[in-house]
């Protein structure tokens, strides 16, 4: 990969743990997370609610403070930058939120919403030039130029999300962070927005952090995928690798629990995860996934596994990945050569339920 655009190094975000405001006890919502995003690359970020996906996005943009670590944007640390410098750099890093209607000011016309970033970042631009840029951007996201005079409530959810993307694109960002940007949209509209993001990325070469709990969408858009659990990165792998040969027990549970578009009996949850979700603070010192892992052993309680490289570009944080049964590929045809080395592990009994074929 060429020089990364954005590098996140050992990022840690803390929140007060106790209800008691005087207590100094903290809880790490993001713990020692590192990754990088290259120009034109999309990194998918998946994890359950509460895993820290949005916290990570906010900490990168310094919308919330980080306790430790670095966010290097073209080699300069955003976290230690002065306020003025940060403000001018923010044009390069933009965010699209989940709720398209709530992220647009209801009292501003679309033209004003799209024009505002230009007023801030390019104050010298004349009114007519601004108007031209707004209309051109509306065209890019597939909306008519006359929409600039309308208000957000006049649009559907899918159209509002196009507007929100257009707003984020106005200052010409090099990194776009999409926080569940398609999650609230209808299935038939999701694809339109995902394709739009892909087209804009190809045209403008920006890097993208695509946060979603929908693995199917992530699979379409991402080149690499980072799996977050309890604020820690548990697996990072190229897309093909993750979907064919996931190594972490949590990633496997996530893949097995996701219904496909076709009837396929899913594995019973008990076979994927241990019974109850335990509060994160109980696992101090050990693996973040210990309480819910069906493959846990003694060492997992004592020491937290670090991300280790197990194949090219494939990292996993698990003490026991070598002992796990061979990964069950979601589809034999798609698994390809990436999987052969894993299939040497014969024992696939535990994952057998995931392999069940569709019923006749």
């Amino acid at each position: 990969m060429s020089e990364p655009l954005l590098e996140v190094k050992n990022l840690r975000v803390e929140f007060a743990a106790a209800r008691d405001p005087l207590s100094a006890e903290v809880f790490a919502a993001i713990d020692d997370v590192s990754f990088e995003i290259g120009a034109g690359e999309t990194l998918g970020l998946v994890g359950e609610s509460g895993s820290g996906k949005s916290t990570l996005a906010r900490a990168i943009l310094r919308l919330i403070p980080a306790a430790r670590g670095q966010v290097l944007w073209r080699g300069r640390n955003l976290l230690t930058m002065g306020a003025q410098e940060l403000r001018s750099e923010r044009r390069n890093l933009q965010l699209v939120f989940q709720d398209p209607l709530a992220s647009l000011d209801p009292r501003m016309r679309i033209g004003e919403i799209l024009g505002e970033p230009l007023e801030i970042f390019e104050p010298s631009l004349s009114a007519t030039d601004r108007q031209i840029r707004i209309e051109r951007m509306l065209g890019k996201v597939g909306l008519a130029a006359e929409f600039a005079r309308r208000f957000p409530h006049e649009f559907s959810g899918g159209q509002c999300q196009r507007i929100a993307i257009a707003r984020a694109m106005m200052p010409g960002p090099r990194i776009l962070i999409c926080d569940e940007a398609v999650s609230s949209l209808d299935v038939s509209i999701q694809g339109q927005i995902v394709n739009l993001l892909g087209d804009l990325q190809r045209e403008l070469g920006m890097g993208m952090l695509f946060i979603s709990h929908n693995l199917g969408v992530v699979r379409h858009i991402s080149r690499r995928v980072l799996v977050l659990f309890g604020g820690s990165a548990v697996e990072l792998a190229p897309r093909e690798r993750l979907f064919a040969a996931a190594a972490h027990p949590y990633t496997r549970a996530l893949l097995a629990a996701t219904p496909g578009a076709h009837p396929q009996p899913l594995a019973a949850p008990a076979e994927l995860l241990a019974a109850e979700a335990a509060p994160a603070e109980q696992t101090s010192g050990g693996c973040v996934f210990f309480d819910r892992c069906i493959h846990r052993a003694g060492e997992c309680r004592i020491s937290a596994p670090r991300l280790e490289q197990i194949a090219e570009l494939h990292f996993v944080a698990c003490h026991r990945w070598r002992q796990l049964p061979a990964a069950a590929p979601a589809d034999e045809a798609a698994a390809g050569a990436a999987l052969t080395e894993f299939l040497d592990d014969a024992d696939s009994a535990i994952l057998a339920p995931m392999n069940r074929r569709p019923q006749p």
């Binding site: 359950e48 609610s49 559907s156 959810g157 899918g158 159209q159 209808d186 299935v187 038939s188 509209i189 999701q190 694809g191 339109q192 995902v194 394709n195 892909g198 709990h213 929908n214 693995l215 199917g216 969408v217 699979r219 379409h220 897309r239 093909e240 979907f243 549970a253 996530l254 893949l255 097995a256 629990a257 996701t258 219904p259 496909g260 578009a261 076709h262 009837p263 396929q264 009996p265 899913l266 594995a267 019973a268 949850p269 994927l272 995860l273 019974a275 109850e276 979700a277 979601a330 589809d331 045809a333 798609a334 569709p358 019923q359 006749p360």
Partner: protein
């Protein structure tokens, strides 16, 4: 007005729901007919605005004050639409139960879980509080909640989303209903929790002869549970078929397109996602022809002027389309 056990659990006939607002009418449900046999699981699939929730809110008489429902909704032969309160009280919550999408807003925030659960039995079955508490405890255990005794004494905000949804499902099953209407029961939950809730519904079906209506926008979700699936578009049924048949061979172009749009975890990962052009229709829109025609790849001029009627095809399927997908 008596209960007929030979009749289908739920028989909806020519149901329309109309909202009047400021002199204009919107019609989210248009002449929908469908049946749910006793013990059957019916999947109801549609996008937002397709009327999928409205049909069953009308059946439960839970529509807003400015809504008007016409047609017929029979529960084991007993008419529910415009039925007197006494009839509804005897059926709703005990024989015919509903689980909603958002588990937090469906629970009363200031009452302990145990009280909310036991209250159902005290009201519907006139049992004593002591017996009701015991039944609530047993039900929490049945829906897989660890440490149920402690949970009974807690408030809804002290439970996780998945636990709340399991409590709601448990509550809905306390009076041993004949039919459970689950409206997007897992949309607010993580996929791993969703799998647990689905497994719970599957187990409940296996153990008792519970009929389920599973309402969802997600074919994949419905696939794991439903015997038969009804697809809605713009307030009308466009296709209905046994689940296996529908997935193997969708006939309506909308069904086929919607299935394609659901991103899969298997097969070739294309750079571009398959899409369906255009916007889902607004319930206020009026159509002369087929409501799906503007977005349909099979549409002909006839589709724009003449609305296709829902007709029976083959043994167990229904289809409303002039130019269906080839088999």
């Amino acid at each position: 007005m008596s209960t007929d056990l030979a009749a289908p659990a739920l028989a909806i006939d020519e149901l329309s729901v109309e909202y009047l607002r400021g002199g204009t009418a919107t019609t989210p449900v248009r002449e929908v007919s469908l049946t749910v046999a006793a013990g059957e699981c019916l999947g109801v699939v549609g996008e937002s605005g397709s009327g999928k929730s409205q049909i069953f809110l009308a059946a439960m008489d839970l529509l807003a004050a400015n809504a008007h429902a016409s047609g017929s909704v029979r529960f084991f032969g007993r008419e529910l639409l415009a039925a007197p309160r006494s009839v509804l009280d005897a059926v709703r919550g005990s024989k015919l139960a509903m689980v909603f999408q958002d588990p937090l807003s469906a629970l009363t925030p200031h009452l302990k879980i145990g009280v909310q659960m036991a209250e159902l039995l005290v009201c519907h079955r006139a049992t004593s509080w002591r017996e009701a508490d015991a039944a609530a405890l047993a039900m929490l255990r049945k829906v897989g909640i660890a440490d149920p005794w402690r949970r009974l004494g807690q408030y809804p905000h002290e439970l996780s989303g998945g636990m709340r949804q399991r409590v709601l499902i448990g509550m809905s099953l306390l009076c041993e209903p004949d039919l459970l209407i689950a409206d997007e029961p897992t949309t607010a939950l993580d996929v791993t929790v969703q799998a647990q809730v689905l497994e719970l519904l599957r187990a409940m079906r296996r153990d008792s002869c519970l009929g389920i209506v599973l309402i969802s926008h997600d074919f994949g979700l419905v696939a794991g549970l439903a015997d038969r699936i009804v697809v809605l578009y713009a307030g009308r049924v466009v296709e209905s078929a046994p689940a296996a048949q529908l997935f193997a061979c969708p006939r309506h172009p909308y069904t086929a397109a919607l299935m394609q749009c659901s991103p899969a975890l298997t097969g070739f990962a294309q750079e571009r996602m398959p899409t369906l052009a255009g916007q889902p229709p607004n319930p206020a829109d009026r159509f002369d022809g087929c409501a799906f025609a503007p977005r349909c790849s099979n549409a002909t001029p006839r589709c724009r002027v003449e609305r296709p009627l829902l007709e029976t095809v083959g043994a167990a399927a229904q289809l409303a389309c002039h130019n269906p997908m080839s088999t």
